[in-house]
């Protein structure tokens, strides 16, 4: 059974048809990279998966269950799907440690000591355990994004969504974030990444999909995707960004 199964997904913003019938399957442990020009609907697509965006037509199955089924508690669903945003979205009024422990304590009812222990080990894994008691504004962009990843991982999610995680970073900070993501991918995390980091895609993606105009135009394993893009629009896009 696929981890995520999207079929015939449609979404409109008013008259604007952002998602025009997307069908996609993501297996457990698969790393999917989604690329495409801005406005192609790629962010909207992954944000539908944890229902941060609502859609009007189609179905999304997560772990075999329709995410709109009445028996699905939206908060429990989201607890199992981590998301990392372009703008980090750390809570500026909380320390790094509290950013990471908030959801486990409040949503899962983990006790504080246990949550902090897990948080510190995750912060160590992303390389910032020595900053645990600082506030987000005292960290660099790359560090903030790594905290955001740790914050998502603290919920022990089955899937991680990345919504352009490196687009807001200074160039010299991109790699520190990508390295964390690569480690995650190698450890078998199921990941959907909207990103233009083609080096990342080559190295760890199982599949790359190219979206344009709200639809999936082309998809292939990374080698094939980069060597032999079939569609004209894909070729034009790759020429722009490589």
């Amino acid at each position: 059974m696929a981890m995520i199964e999207v079929s015939k997904l449609h979404k409109w913003y008013g008259d604007f048809h952002v998602l025009q019938g997307i069908s996609e399957k993501v297996e457990k442990g698969e790393v999917l990279v989604i690329c495409g020009p801005s406005g192609s609907g790629k962010s909207t697509f992954i944000r539908c998966i944890n229902r941060l965006e609502e859609y009007q037509k189609g179905t999304i199955l997560f772990d075999g269950k329709d995410i709109h089924d009445k028996s699905v508690n939206i908060n429990n669903l989201r607890a199992e799907i981590g998301i990392v945003f372009q703008q980090f979205n750390l809570y500026p009024h909380l320390t790094v440690l509290k950013n990471v422990t908030l959801a486990p304590i409040k949503v899962k009812g983990v006790d504080k000591d246990e949550a902090e222990k897990v948080a510190l080990s995750l912060l160590e894994r992303v390389g910032i355990h020595d900053q645990a008691h600082k506030y987000p504004a005292e960290l660099s962009g790359g560090q903030q994004q790594r905290v955001a990843i740790a914050r998502s991982l603290a919920m022990k999610p089955k899937v991680m969504l990345f919504d352009e995680p490196t687009s807001a970073l200074d160039p010299e900070m991109i790699n520190e974030v990508l390295n964390v993501m690569k480690d995650l991918a190698r450890e078998g995390m199921t990941m959907l990444c909207v990103t233009h980091e083609m080096g990342f895609a080559r190295e760890v993606a199982d599949r790359v999909i190219f979206m344009d105009g709200g639809a999936v135009v082309e998809q292939a394993p990374p080698d094939e995707f980069f060597k032999n893009p079939k569609h004209e629009r894909t070729k034009a896009f790759l020429k722009e960004i490589l």
């Binding site: 941060l52 908060n75 429990n76 998301i83 979205n89 500026p92 506030y135 005292e138 998502s152 919920m155």
Partner: protein, 231 residues
Amino acid sequence: MRFDPVIKNFDYFLWGAFPEGPLGGLAMTILLAAVSIFLAFWVGLVFGLMRNSKNRIVRYVAMVYIEVVRGTPLLLLIFWFYFLAPVIVGYSVPELQTTVVALVVFTGAYIAEIVRAGILALPKGQMEAARGSGLSHIQAMRFVILPQSLRNMIPSFVNQFVSLTKDTSLASTIGVLELTRCAEQVSNRTLTAPMEIYLTILVMYFLICYVLTSYSRKLEKQLSRYQARDR
């Protein structure tokens, strides 16, 4: 200048006839303001949250309340409650309670607008990050949105609280023995020094408001550590 009526009645300005008689004067003004501020904050918070609700009826109720109150002079609101309250509850309501209700209803509407705007002013990503990690709407509000936005609202709150403190003087019109009413009494009795008397209470009003604004400046500084850089 003839300040001897002021000096002779200074304790009356401070706390009325207390402890032999009822509390009044500056003490009553401060009590009135403090109780009203406390209640208005909670009323405003609730209606401000309702104003942002996804439920149309809830939102509409809050909107009507805010619009009606904002279009009504406070003095009329006080009169209105003064005459209406006994009809509703069936027995006479003391002026003090009437005034508190009017001040709370009035200020609550303004606080509600501040709360609504303050919540909308936070980056959308904060709510998304909170909900995205599995927090419920209420938890997200409680732990992520309100702690940040309430801090940003402090200057606007203080503004409103200073207004409220000065507005307590309107209670004198229905006979509450607060600072203005006490001054009126003394002035009417002595007849010789209205200017000096009213100058004295003006300074008193200024002092309470000044204490309020200075305290808020200190509070803002203390609470803004996390914004020290980058924002």
